[in-house]
Symmetry: C2
Subunit: 328 residues, 2 copies
C-alpha cells in the first residue's frame, strides 16, 4: 500500500520594514534590492496539499470555496516547479484557509506561498533546508521567502536564483514589537503587486532607492538588534514614503493612498509628537501599519479605532517561521 502524498503547513504574513519593490528578474522574482521584515504571528494561513497519481489540472480550495482563474493558475505554475524538483507528475489538491483579508496590501500571497512551499515539499518527501524552502517560496511570491524563517527576517537580494533567500536576523522573542494595522479598505487593489513591480523602474526615484537599500537594511537590522525604536521609526518611515513616491512617479503612476491614509499618518505623527512611541509603514495598499512596543499596542489600537475612515484594526506581534503542522 502506497503512502498518501499529503502534508499540511502554516505560515504567517510579514510586514516589511525595508520594502521590496521592483525586480531585477521578473520571472525568477529576483528583487532589485534586499529587504527586511517581521512575521505577523497573529495572522496565518494553513495549507494542505494532496498530490494524486493522476495527471491533470491542480485544484485550489480557498477558505472552503473552489477557486478558478489567475489565482489557481499561479498556484499550478508554482507546483510545476515543485513537481519538477521532485520528479513527480500527478495533480494536486490544495486546500488553504487563512484569516488574512485578501487584496488589501496585507501580503496574503507571502503567507500563502510560504505555507504552500512547505506543504508541497513535505508531501513529495523532499528534504529541503529553510534556505532552500525560502528560495522555492520566492518563485511563488517574492515576499513569501521572508515568511519562511522566524521572527525578524532579511531577504538577501542575490543575483542568481539560488542566492536570493531569506534568513532570520532575530527570533520572535527578541523584541515585543507590535504591528497595529489600520484597515481602511477591504476592496481589492486596482493594480496588483506583480504589475507594480514591473513599473518600478519607470520611476526616476527607483534607481537611487535600490542603490541605497543595502544601507537602510543595515541600519534597520542594527536598530532591531539594539531594540532602538527611534532609529527603527526613522528608517522605516523613510523607506515606506520612498517606495510610495516611486509608485506615484511610475508610468503609469500607482496611487495606493486613500484620503484616510493621510488622516492616519497625521494622527500617528501627532501621537509621536505627544510622546507615544509609534511609527508608520505602508505596503502596496492604503492601510497604515503602526509599529509600536507591545506595552502601548492596546492604546494605539484604541486610538486607531477612533480615527475617521478606519474600518477595522488588527494587531500582531512577531511570529515564527513557516512550518509543517498536523492536519486539523
Amino acid at each position: 500500500m502506497e503512502a498518501i502524498r499529503r502534508a499540511t503547513a502554516q505560515a504567517h504574513p510579514n510586514i516589511a520594514f525595508i520594502k521590496y519593490w521592483g525586480n531585477r528578474d521578473d520571472q525568477l522574482r529576483l528583487p532589485a534590492n534586499p529587504s527586511l521584515s517581521m512575521n505577523l504571528g497573529a495572522l496565518r494561513t494553513i495549507t494542505t496539499v494532496t498530490f494524486l497519481e493522476e495527471e491533470g489540472p491542480d485544484a485550489l480550495i480557498l477558505n472552503g470555496s473552489p477557486v478558478e482563474g489567475p489565482a489557481r493558475d499561479r498556484v499550478e505554475a508554482f507546483l510545476h516547479h515543485v513537481r519538477g524538483m521532485a520528479g513527480f507528475r500527478g495533480r494536486a489538491v490544495v486546500e488553504s484557509n487563512t484569516d488574512i483579508p485578501a487584496g488589501v496590501g496585507l501580503a496574503s500571497s507571502a503567507a500563502a506561498f510560504a505555507a504552500l512551499a512547505v506543504a508541497a515539499a513535505a508531501a513529495l518527501g523532499m528534504d529541503l533546508s529553510e534556505r532552500e524552502l525560502s528560495i522555492l517560496a520566492r518563485l511563488g511570491s517574492g515576499s513569501a521567502c521572508r515568511s519562511m524563517p522566524p521572527g525578524f527576517v532579511e531577504w538577501v537580494a542575490g543575483d542568481r536564483h539560488e542566492d536570493s533567500y531569506a534568513y532570520s536576523i532575530a527570533p520572535p522573542e527578541h523584541w515585543a514589537l507590535w504591528d497595529v494595522i489600520a484597515i481602511l479598505s477591504e476592496q481589492h487593489k486596482a493594480v496588483g503587486s506583480s504589475e507594480g513591480h514591473r513599473r518600478a523602474a519607470t520611476s526616476p526615484l527607483h534607481a537611487l532607492r535600490v542603490a541605497t537599500a543595502p544601507e537602510r537594511v543595515a541600519r534597520c537590522r542594527e536598530a532591531i538588534w539594539r531594540r532602538d525604536f527611534e532609529a527603527l521609526a526613522e528608517i522605516v518611515e523613510t523607506d515606506a514614503i520612498w517606495m510610495h513616491a516611486v509608485m506615484m512617479t511610475s508610468r503609469p503612476p500607482l496611487f495606493y493612498w486613500e484620503p484616510a491614509t493621510i488622516t492616519v499618518l497625521q494622527a500617528v505623527r501627532r501621537w509621536r509628537d505627544e510622546g507615544l512611541p509609534v511609527a508608520f509603514t505602508l505596503d502596496a495598499g492604503p492601510n497604515v501599519h503602526v509599529l509600536c512596543p507591545m506595552e502601548v499596542a492596546d492604546e494605539v489600537a484604541r486610538r486607531l479605532q477612533r480615527v475617521p475612515g478606519v474600518r477595522r484594526v488588527l494587531a500582531s506581534g512577531p511570529g515564527g517561521g513557516a512550518c509543517r503542522i498536523p492536519r486539523s
Copy 2:
C-alpha cells in the same frame, strides 16, 4: 521742493512646474536647483512704498491693517538691502493690498517681494533691469524672482548672488494654460517654507532631485515651447511628488498633504483617464493646482467644486511680469 519718494507696483504670484525646494545658501536664497513657473494673472498684489526723510522702523500695512512681528521684520530686512544699494537711510511706509489668501501655499510672498522690489527701487529712483530686479526680489523670497518676468519663467539657479535670476521663456499669450486651484484649507501652514528649505538636505531623496532638476527644467521648457500638454503633465506631476517625498522624508518630516489632497489627486487622475487634459501639482501646502488648457478650465472648476473637502476654487491663466503702476 523735494520730490516725494513714492512708487506703486503690482506683481502676480506664480505656480512652479519644476519646484524650488532647498537652498545652497539660505542667507542669499541661492536655490539648490533651477526651477520653472507660470505667473498667475488672476491674482495680484499691489504695493506702494513711501520713503520718508526720518530714520526709524519701517511700517507695513497689509490690506489696510498695520502688521507687526516677523512679517514686518522681513520687509524691513529686505528694504535695508534696497536702501544700501541706493545710499538712502530714511524709513519706509509699505502699503500692500492683495487678493491672495496668505499661508495656504499660494506663494503670496513671491508676489509680495516682487511688487515691493519694483516699488522700492522706483521710489528711490534706481534704474534697475528686469534681471537686476529679479535678483533683488530673490533676497526677500526666493520664488519672488520668478514673479518678476512675464508669463512662463525660468529661474537660473546660479552660484553667486548676481547669477541667480529669472527670465521669461515665453510670454503669457504663448499658451492659454490654466491653473485651477482647489483650496482645501485656509489655515496657516504649521511649518513655513523658509524652515522647510532648511530641512530639505536632510532627506535622502534631496540630492538626486537637485541633480536631475536641470534635466526636468529642460524637458518642461521644451513642453511649454511646443505646447505639449501631455509631456508637461508627466514632468510636472513627477516633480511635485518628488518634492513632497523630500518633505515627508526630511528630519523632522514635513507633511503638507491633507486627506482631501488625496481625494483631489484621485479625481484628477480619474478625469485624465477619462480623456480630460488635466495635470496636478502641489506647492508647500495641501492645495492642489490643476493645470489644463483654457478650453476645459470651466469644466475643471465645476468638477473641483463638487469634490468633497474642496472649500474654494480659484482659476487663473498666465500673467504678466511685475511692473510699476499709477497709484490708485
